[in-house]
């Protein structure tokens, strides 16, 4: 048995380990994600500690660094799917010794935007124009919103693909982008400018992505793999609520959805499988 030396650690690691205790550490992309996971797994917070690593790249690098230093190895990371392929998602989920998990849907928000939860919350939210009769009508409306976001998501995908060669930071179309004011043509022109590519080349690439996205827009489950829930959340607020679309309002609506999903629908199997089967069960071994 070798002597374990306890000495000074980097400040961030000290703060994490101070809070961690004997729990499993799960690195998430941001503070918004922490809020959702802590609400969903409130009863497991004595066994699990969620920490925001600030972006998927940081989740990956921080996870690797911590695994190198750890003797127990009970450290995991969960990141959004973004534009990753089905193969990449499956590889991370099926690998028995995996420590990094990729969500099957585009982002964590896509697990909040279950049609029933959205309908249930909008029903009682201040709104003059909300007249969707039930959750199946809500589902159809959400798919329509997904279709409206198709070109913008295709443009972001093209920008994402270019990221292996170029720094794309700041080039993406952000949530809250007004898809009513900006036509398909506007998005293509702006992408061309942002990437400094010829218009025709950009249009061709966007069309290719639009075709793939369109093929997934038949059901919520597949559409939510392609359409960013963060964008969709903003569009829902624009379309169905009368309140000003400030950040606190969006965050408040997000919190309502988080609770409703847990209490009235139940968590999606993707999420339960990662936390309960792969992380918490591993702790008992």
């Amino acid at each position: 048995m070798t002597t374990r030396t306890i000495s000074k650690l980097p400040p961030e690691l000290t703060n994490i380990l101070f809070e961690l205790g004997n729990r499993q550490l799960v690195l998430l992309e941001g503070k918004d994600d922490i809020e959702v996971f802590e609400e969903w797994f409130m009863e497991n917070l004595s066994d699990i500690y969620f920490y925001p690593a600030d972006g998927s790249l940081n989740v990956k690098t921080f996870l690797q660094e911590m695994l190198k230093k750890s003797s127990k190895g009970k450290i995991y990371g969960i990141i959004d799917r973004d534009f990753r392929t089905e193969q990449e998602v499956n590889a991370a989920l099926s690998e028995q010794s995996a420590h990094l998990f990729i969500l099957r849907r585009y982002a964590l928000e896509n697990y909040l935007l279950e049609p029933f939860a959205v309908w249930e919350e909008l029903r009682i939210y201040p709104s003059k124009s909300f007249n969707i009769p039930d959750s199946s009508a809500m589902e159809k409306d959400l798919l329509k919103l997904c279709a409206q976001l198709k070109t913008m998501m295709a443009a972001n995908w093209v920008i994402y693909d270019s990221s292996t060669r170029e720094n794309t930071g700041g080039k993406y179309f952000k949530e809250g982008y007004d898809i009513k004011k900006n036509s398909r043509k506007d998005i293509i022109q702006q992408t061309s400018k942002r990437l400094n590519w010829e218009l025709a080349r950009v249009e061709q690439k966007i069309v290719e992505k639009e075709v793939i996205i369109q093929s997934k827009l038949d059901s919520i489950d597949t559409a939510y793999q392609m359409i960013d829930g963060k964008h969709l959340l903003h569009q829902i607020m624009y379309k169905y609520t009368d309140e000003p679309k400030t950040k606190p309002r969006v965050e408040h609506f997000r919190r309502l959805l988080t609770r409703t999903v847990k209490e009235k629908i139940g968590l999606h199997t993707d999420i339960l499988w990662i936390i309960k089967r792969r992380i918490l069960l591993e702790a008992q071994k």
């Binding site: 400040p11 703060n15 380990l17 101070f18 205790g21 003797s71 127990k72």
Partner: protein, 327 residues
């Protein structure tokens, strides 16, 4: 004299199976060490072992309960810029005694089942200094000139107990190499009894202590002696009064720590403090930490504390924080 802890090595001591805790930063001793970790990770054991190992300089009681439950413990110290080691070796199996070089310590020789003491030049000097001072009164006004510091240990249970007239006795503060705060009505270190005694016998010192207490700002509360009943009374901002032991548990925690330090702290000492946050609201956590740092600027001492409150990591700094839980 100044004494600082550089490291602690433990084998099979409670939750600490085989660890070395390094208390230095870039090979320099640190003035505040914050020990963090899950419940049961050995934070209190570390304080108990430090206290027990340093007590060995007096060789007063080698049957110290904490040490007897430990197979091996060794502390590395810096005494006036000289490094020295104190060890306790209670080998589980029959082995030949191994010379520990220039270290001071006690080892159980299982061949004859007797305790062997290994002395060093430093241990002899320490023993002589301790014996020269032990039991002599500490003069509050001149304690800064004392030649040897103390080890002051505050276990997690700290509260004031009610004192009656018969329990008031002469409360001179006497030098102790290792002092442990106790929560017993028979404990001669009772703060209330001390204050009453000072009011009666040492009015000048009493006034300085009262001034110190009143500047701590306990939400406008002030402290007074009621001579008829031989008790300390606390006046609140609205003019009402209550007994000394009726202060809230958080107020008692702060009062005990700061008043005990005020009357016992000699420059160069080590203060061991278990669960600093005992009953303290975040505002009081900051107040206590700031008071300790201010005191440290006036009278240098090494502070080693345990806590579960992240606020103390922020206040005292990550550099001095050691996490005992293995991850």
């Amino acid at each position: 004299m100044q004494i600082k802890i550089l490291s602690l090595t433990v084998k099979n001591g409670g939750a600490l199976k085989d660890v070395k805790i390094d208390f230095t930063d870039n090979e320099q001793s640190q003035s505040v060490i914050v020990l963090g970790g899950a419940n049961g990770s050995g934070k209190t054991t570390v304080l108990e072992l430090i206290f027990a190992l340093l007590e060995l300089f007096k060789i007063s009681d080698i049957r110290n309960m904490r040490l007897m439950q430990t197979e091996y413990a060794e502390i590395e110290l810096l005494i006036d810029r000289k490094t020295t080691h104190v060890f306790f070796d209670n080998p589980a199996v029959l082995t030949e005694a191994i010379s520990q070089g220039n270290k001071y310590g006690i080892r159980l020789n299982r061949v004859n089942n007797d305790w062997r003491t290994q002395t060093s030049e430093m241990s002899q000097q320490m023993y002589d200094s301790i014996m020269l001072n032990e039991g002599k009164p500490i003069n509050l006004s001149s304690k800064q000139t004392n030649t040897i510091p103390s080890i002051l240990y505050f276990p997690h249970h700290r509260e004031l107990l009610p004192v009656t007239g018969e329990q008031i006795h002469r409360e001179e503060i006497k030098y102790q190499w290792c002092y442990r705060y106790q929560n017993l009505s028979s404990f001669s270190g009772s703060l209330e009894s001390h204050l009453i005694w000072l009011d009666y016998a040492e009015p000048e010192i009493f006034q300085s202590v009262i001034d110190f207490l009143n500047q701590l700002d306990f939400e406008g509360k002030t402290f007074h002696i009621h001579r008829k009943t031989l008790s300390v009374i606390v006046k609140t901002r609205d003019g009402s009064t209550h007994a000394f032991d009726k202060l809230s548990s958080g107020e008692q925690n702060i009062l005990i720590l700061l008043l005990e330090l005020y009357r016992r702290l000699i420059p160069g000492s080590i203060v061991l403090l278990d669960e600093i946050e005992n009953s303290l609201h975040p505002a009081f956590q900051h107040r206590l930490a700031q008071n300790l740092l201010q005191l440290q600027r006036q009278i240098p001492f090494q502070l080693i504390l345990t806590t579960h409150q992240p606020a103390f990591v922020k206040i005292f700094g990550e550099n001095g924080t050691r996490i005992l839980t293995e991850f």
